[in-house]
Symmetry: C2
Subunit: 440 residues, 2 copies
């Protein structure tokens, strides 16, 4: 039996404390499965005295995570500090350059410095594992890096942010407004006090950029991700989606197109019968389209101390068994700069909700503007909010009418041009709502 693996953990928040507990609870099973014991020997956190529900007295304590990372007594450094800058970054670099394998859950750091950190890990022939950085407990990184190694991927998309999915699920199921559901999510601890990073889609964008690198052998490039959040989604949209056979999810989507890799995060209509449409609440899911395996979907908890710790411990287990892959699957030197497919060229179906002025000719104007851009319609739904005014002789005083259009596949550019023209024509009473449709 090989000597025990000596682990140093920096960051003892919810996830860090769960990792310590899980390693203790599964001690014997892990030793059997990995062929050696896994021993936490040192930890680092901001406040030594804080109650964490775990006894850290038997581990050496470091106030400075960088000092822990350079400690000759540890074999592997687990970074659970977070943040795209120091001390997380400096600690990681220190550990890697001292020839220690590193495990991190830090998506922000990887999204920004993934390429350099991967190169550093490869240079020192150590592992840089980050299963916990994307989709929490779902083994998506391992699946992409190892499980689908023989596949050429065409698309990867998923629900990568539990906060947004919780809000959209509540809005759909209870007919509530975005604001009400956000408040509930905050009350339940599913949303931060400052929810912008989640609800504006940036959290999803970071995770998507990491997945795209793994999926397509490209360099992580968060800047190349088109991002829209969920704040503009209304109960009317969810109601219309229901009627039309869709659900609305905040998806991160990366697709290989003729123009390059398209990376986008936006509220998306997905067919009600698709696997991804069944994903409710804070659950995450990722679907992969690939040449050999066709379609694979993984679902599970995207956050939470124990679920995230499950991913971290799996990464530690791999290091214990001596597994080493290039961090992004393909060696850093061979990762290609991403060829950005511009969002204007995105092709797909669109849901468009207009508030049309109720006067003769409006429908004709809208239809003409769409036709000019060669946009064909799959369906049109027009709803009068109440009874039409009796007598029918005062069309100008009528309230605007919601009109919902579902287009066949067209381009982002065509949709934007058509809607700009419609606005210009003055036949709609507010800015159009546009939601892209993703077919499975």
């Amino acid at each position: 039996m090989t000597a025990p693996l000596k682990v140093g953990i920096a960051g003892l928040g919810t996830v860090g404390a769960s990792v310590v507990r899980l390693l203790a609870r599964q001690r014997d099973a892990l030793e059997a499965r990995c062929g050696r014991a896994i021993n936490v020997v040192a930890v680092s956190a901001r406040s030594k005295g804080k109650q964490r529900g775990v006894d850290t007295a038997s581990y050496r304590w470091f106030d400075d995570p960088v000092a822990l990372a350079s400690d000759p007594a540890i074999d592997v450094f687990v970074e659970l500090i977070g943040g795209e800058g120091d001390p997380a970054k400096r600690a990681l670099e220190m550990a890697l350059s001292r020839g220690k394998s590193v495990i991190t859950a830090n998506k922000a750091l990887l999204a920004r410095h993934g390429l350099d950190l991967a190169a550093l890990a490869e240079k020192h022939r150590v592992a840089l594992n980050f299963e916990a950085a994307v989709a929490g407990g779902i083994p998506i990184v391992k699946t992409l890096r190892e499980g689908l190694v023989g596949n050429s991927l065409t698309r990867i998309y998923g629900i990568l942010n539990g906060t947004c999915n919780y809000i959209l699920t509540r809005m759909e199921q209870d007919g509530l407004s975005f604001e009400e559901c956000l408040k509930d999510a905050q009350r339940l601890g599913y949303a931060e006090a400052d929810p912008a990073f989640d609800i504006e889609g940036h959290d999803t964008a970071q995770k998507l950029a990491i997945l795209a690198s793994l999926a397509f052998g490209t360099r992580v490039d968060t800047e190349a991700v088109y991002v829209e959040g969920i704040a503009s989604i209304t109960p009317e949209d969810l109601e219309a989606a229901e009627e039309l056979g869709y659900r609305i999810k905040l998806l991160g989507v990366a697709v290989a197109t003729g123009q390059g890799i398209e990376q986008r995060v936006h509220p998306t209509m997905v067919p009600k019968g698709s696997a991804i449409a069944q994903v409710m609440g804070v659950t995450n899911a990722v679907t992969i389209d690939a040449d050999a395996v066709n379609e694979i979907t993984l679902m599970g908890p995207g956050a939470g101390g124990e679920a995230t710790a499950s991913a971290v411990v799996s990464d530690i287990g791999d290091v214990a068994r001596g597994v080493r892959t290039a961090p992004f699957g393909t060696p850093a030197s061979k990762l290609q700069a991403i060829g950005r497919a511009p969002m204007q060229r995105h092709e797909g179906g669109y849901y468009i909700r207009l508030l049309a002025v109720d006067r003769p000719g409006t429908a004709a104007v809208i239809a003409a503007r769409l036709a000019e851009q060669n946009i064909s319609l799959e369906s049109i739904m027009q709803r009068h909010r109440g009874p039409r005014p009796q007598g029918g002789d005062s069309p100008k005083s009528a309230a605007p009418v919601p009109v919902i259009l579902i287009t066949y596949a067209t381009t982002e550019d065509a949709v934007r041009r058509a809607l700009a023209a419609v606005e210009e024509d003055g036949v709609i009473a507010q800015a159009p709502q546009v939601i892209r449709i993703e077919k499975n």
Copy 2:
């Protein structure tokens, strides 16, 4: 860069030919990802002259797979012959004892001899990988063996047979009989000419036994699996399921209970909103309940040449990168004999469809028999197939009435006793239909 990995493949059917093609198609990507080239150097199959859509002229040819397995020129032996006996078994043993890693898709062989083969692989410190043996292209073995290494599992269940799921999906969607759908499945190549192995649940049982070993650290024990097939399912059952908020799937379920591990394969009512209920057609899915990660579901193709080849190539990739785990996660010497939880003690809800004789007192008799066994009912549905006979004075001539009962959690034993008593009482016109309910 390490020397190329030299691969010998025995069996050039649909999967074998797909593996050869996939290795060629992904040659450069695999070399980058695995750090070395993967070269097929020798093959074996029954008929050398057969057209397979792949050019095998550049590989050395073996008529005898055992001779290929012992060839000093190969590093890894890929067994795609199938069958629980020789030559597959002898070839595998030969390769392992010559210190070659083995990759196999042979569930029958693993279900029967998994423990011995694992021990042999461990003795010679080589890999025995079998991702393709269960759920085709879904990386479930890797997920159990590596991805959830820090978890203690409580339950694993899934749709593991595409033939059965295709038939049940067609029955549900088109209101057709089992026989009609089976014929369609055969015509489309989704079912064998002799479908018994699939539709009677034995294929699922073999796969389940392998999953249970990986999940619970027990020795593979197919004999311990309770098995029921799908031939008894009728359109009436699917219709009732729909009304009650369920779908019917053939599930393989392994659960850790107080009495041991319960392994069972049977048609199962699953809640319509569950992930597993969305799995249609030949797709497979596996759900895992575990202490840390809570619940994870994986879905994807359970069969097909390319999808299965994806799993085989992933296994080859792991060997190329030097990854070696105990074949069943836990070392063979530590795998426990399975503590069988007897089916009589199974606890859960039940769907019971009776054809009740339409005469006074029938309902009271049935209710009394259930009450005797402490079975509580969640719902009762009674349907008259047509209008009741007019006049009401000839109750004995009335047609029997279908009665559908949904029980709260009870035991298999109680249900069997109650229904035996009901039959004894002569108040039902045919044998009761019983379908277990699995909650997510």
